[in-house]
């Protein structure tokens, strides 16, 4: 049985300050004109009425992280021999993210299927994932770019979260989703909220009613494969693409990375850093051959991966959480929804010539 | 032996092979007393110096960067230093926008025979950097690691 608590709006900051004694706490606040999940600070204004510019992706999947530390040392017995000491560097400590949206938290479930699969476990990811708790805020405002309802989610979806917070007029109803989440709800600042559960459910229903019409994407995996070889299709939909990484880096479910070494004197580190399939270097082979030489090939992979390959591998789950950031932040205004729908509706021209 | 009192600062000099490096050599052979803060990087020509070398040096924590090449009209490659002059002047004027004091970077011309002039240039530039003091450093682990390495190399 989920634990249900209520917190008054005014108590949010004091509560986060309490949590910050035990965990690193992140909450959305402005850095310049960008709304980001930043380390909680009593002095900072927390902004909860709009979606953040960037999802809290860095909390579990840092932009760049150290996988291996290595040191070169001369063998004192034989100076021409260089010894190398390489060791792993695992992340420590626990993190609480406050104010993530259902789409943000659900994004990590796309990571989970790949990083914590039955074949392989990524222990760096695992360490962070296990120790990062999401207090997710249900969305009261549905933005023009939102389409979580197209991808089997909704504005009150608790998937991937530890606590779901439903915004009420005077505060938030906090419902635990996971056991770890339940432990976060023991503060004296919280009061029993079960009496307001009905009210909260009603709010969720209202929100669900206000969202744009859903679209059936069940045909997407097959249809995207069907247009795979139609380069004219992909050249047209990618014509305005600039091949930058804004869409992937702001995406809560884009999980690709690069591994590179950096050295400084006798010391160095192996880094895992964000990489994106929009970049030509992503698949560029040492020989100079590139299987995805143009932006059309690359955008095809991005859309294809999310709406076709991933669902085919992972039981039909679309690897997009519908947050719409790729649309909102694309410098060229590319709308991924448009591309997917276009592929679904695409009818190969009747046999030509 | 340092001419200036106190701690050495990190000053990097980019010197062209044909004139200024020779000038520095002449100063050395002539046993002219010079401050020892400067670390010299020899380049084929002042025209070879990408202004980004200087920016990277400064962002990595150098306290000052000095560039010296052949006098205009004396370039071993005829016109390398004419191009360099434009690039370096633009850089000189650009750096303050980053919060890097104008005096942290200077460029000048010293010929191979001008040992005396080299001594004056180095002394003057080193004094100028000491007056400015250590440059502000970028925060963060990556930057401090570089600084530590640089410290060890000095």
């Amino acid at each position: 049985m989920a634990k249900v608590q209520f917190i008054k709006s005014a108590d949010v900051k004091p509560w986060l300050a309490e949590l910050a004694k035990e965990h690193r706490v992140f909450a959305p606040s402005y850095d310049g004109e960008a709304l980001l999940f930043r380390p909680f600070d009593l002095e900072q204004e927390i902004i909860l009425d709009r979606a953040a510019t960037m999802p809290p992706k860095k909390t579990v999947f840092p932009q760049s992280e150290k996988l291996v530390d290595f040191t070169y040392s001369k063998d004192p017995e034989n100076l021409s021999r260089v010894k190398i000491d390489a060791r792993e560097t695992l992340p420590e400590g626990s993190t609480v993210v406050f104010g993530s949206r259902p789409c943000d938290a659900r994004g990590f479930t796309m990571f989970d299927r790949v990083y914590l699969s039955d074949k392989n476990t990524d222990i760096y990811y695992q360490a962070r994932r296990k120790n990062t708790l999401f207090i997710t805020l249900a969305c009261r405002t549905i933005e023009n770019t939102c389409f979580c309802n197209w991808v089997d989610s909704d504005p009150c979806d608790p998937t991937g979260s530890d606590v779901l917070a439903i915004p009420m007029n005077d505060g938030y109803l906090l419902e635990s989703v996971s056991e770890q989440g339940e432990k976060l709800l023991n503060s004296k600042l919280l009061a029993d909220g079960s009496s307001r559960k009905v009210e909260a459910d009603k709010i969720c229903q209202e929100i669900a009613g206000s969202i744009n019409n859903t679209k059936d994407l069940s045909q997407a995996p097959a249809k995207l494969l069907a247009v795979f070889d139609n380069m004219q299709f992909w050249e047209e939909v990618s014509a305005k693409c600039l091949s930058c990484g804004a869409c992937t880096y702001l995406c809560p479910s884009c999980y690709c990375f690069n591994i590179t070494d950096e050295t400084n004197g006798m010391k160095g580190k192996r880094l895992r850093s964000w990489d994106n399939c929009m970049s030509a270097q992503f698949t560029m082979e040492a020989s100079g051959h590139n299987p995805r030489p143009t932006k059309a090939h690359r955008l095809k992979n991005r859309v294809g991966h999310k709406f076709s390959y991933y669902p085919t591998i992972h039981g039909g789950v679309i690897s997009c959480c519908g947050c719409g950031r790729c649309i909102k932040s694309c410098p060229a205004g590319i709308d991924i929804r448009e591309i997917v729908l276009k592929a679904i509706d695409f009818e190969p021209a009747a046999v030509e010539e | 032996m340092p001419v200036l009192k106190g701690k050495e600062l990190r000053i990097v000099g980019f010197l062209c092979n044909w004139c200024s490096y020779g000038g520095a050599d002449t100063a050395g052979v002539g046993r002219f007393n010079q401050p020892t803060d400067l670390r010299i990087i020899r380049v084929p020509c002042s025209g070879r110096i990408d202004p980004l070398f200087i920016m990277k040096t400064l962002l990595n924590g150098a306290d000052g960067v000095l560039v010296s090449g052949c006098h205009p009209r004396d370039c071993h490659y005829a016109e390398g230093n004419f191009y360099a002059r434009r690039r370096l002047e633009v850089l000189h004027r650009f750096l303050p926008i980053l919060g890097i004091e104008p005096g942290r970077f200077e460029y000048t011309w010293v010929s191979a025979s001008e040992g005396q002039r080299w001594q004056q240039v180095v002394t003057r530039f080193t004094e100028q950097i000491h007056k400015l003091g250590p440059a502000p450093k970028i925060a963060g682990p990556a930057a401090s690691e570089t600084l530590r390495q640089m410290e060890a190399a000095l």
């Binding site: 996988l67 260089v82 010894k83 190398i84 | -």
Partner: protein, 276 residues
């Protein structure tokens, strides 16, 4: 404790062999004797070899699992990592993450005639399977090897070729692209020579590996000879980083070359979208 899939085993280069002007072979052993003793792999599996400070690159383990004194990698100099590896010598330390990927379907090949068609550095993955089969000779039918390179000096494993030529239980054909003084073997492009040799497709499997252009025409030649898609096996190459299906760059549609490959039958390749 879950294994760290990104932490390489430290290994020592035991021997470096210069094969050609741009190919070097490294024989390495894992530093941890326990790990070396327990190391097991199947022919065709690859490893991520790293020079710390430069990075990792993917190479097939081209020694067979039947000869475990060392693991052998042949490296053609093309990029940053391979150039660095070429500067290493016996005694130097490298990192190895292996085995990764799938392997040749050597179980399914039992009792069949085998045709190897290798070009240039593409001989490396064939070598592991060839030696494995020679070490388990009774399990396989007639074995034919066609190995081609641009010129005699571009032939890797030259020190082994005479043995292979001399063996009665192996038909070896060597070819080079253009006539060369003193060359006593075939001259001509691999696909043409293959058509000359004309191995029978009957109860055969053909395994081919080499540069893309050679593969393209070899597949056509095999088809001409009557080899069906299921009878042709080849290996794919992609830029790889993690090697374990996570980092996301080596996919062709739903298939990840690092996990589902590098070995594919032509029939499997036809199922994949066209993005080689």
């Amino acid at each position: 404790m879950t294994k760290n899939i990104y932490l390489p085993e430290m290994a020592t280069i035991q021997e470096v062999i210069r094969e050609t002007h741009n190919i070097m072979t490294f024989r390495v052993t894992l530093n941890n004797p326990e790990a070396m003793k327990n190391f097991s792999f199947k022919p065709g599996q690859v490893g991520q070899v790293s020079s710390f400070g430069t990075g990792e690159a993917t190479f097939v383990i081209n020694s067979p699992p039947t000869r475990m004194d060392y693991l052998q990698f042949s490296v053609m100099r093309t990029g940053e990592v391979t150039s660095k590896l070429h500067s290493l010598k016996a005694g130097d330390q490298i990192g190895v993450r292996a085995p990764l990927g799938n392997s040749f379907p050597y179980e399914d090949m039992k009792g069949k005639d085998i045709v190897f068609v290798g070009g240039g550095i593409g001989m490396a993955p064939l070598r592991t399977l060839l030696l494995f089969m020679l070490d388990n000779r009774a399990d396989y039918g007639k074995i034919t090897l066609l190995y081609g390179a641009r010129s005699p000096v571009d032939m890797a494993y030259s020190y082994e070729l005479q043995d292979w030529l001399d063996r009665d239980d192996l038909d070896t054909y060597l070819t080079i692209d253009a006539p060369y003084e003193g060359w006593q073997h075939k001259v001509g492009l691999i696909p043409n020579v293959l058509l000359d040799i004309a191995p029978s497709p009957g109860n055969s499997v053909a395994i081919t590996c080499g540069p893309p252009i050679m593969i393209k025409f070899t597949l056509q030649a095999l088809e001409k000879l009557g080899f069906k898609d299921e009878q042709i096996v080849t290996t794919l190459e992609k830029r790889m980083k993690c090697g374990v299906g996570i980092c996301g760059r080596c996919n062709i549609g739903t298939s990840y070359v690092c996990m589902d490959g590098p070995v594919f039958t032509r029939a499997q390749l036809r199922q994949l979208p066209n993005e080689l």
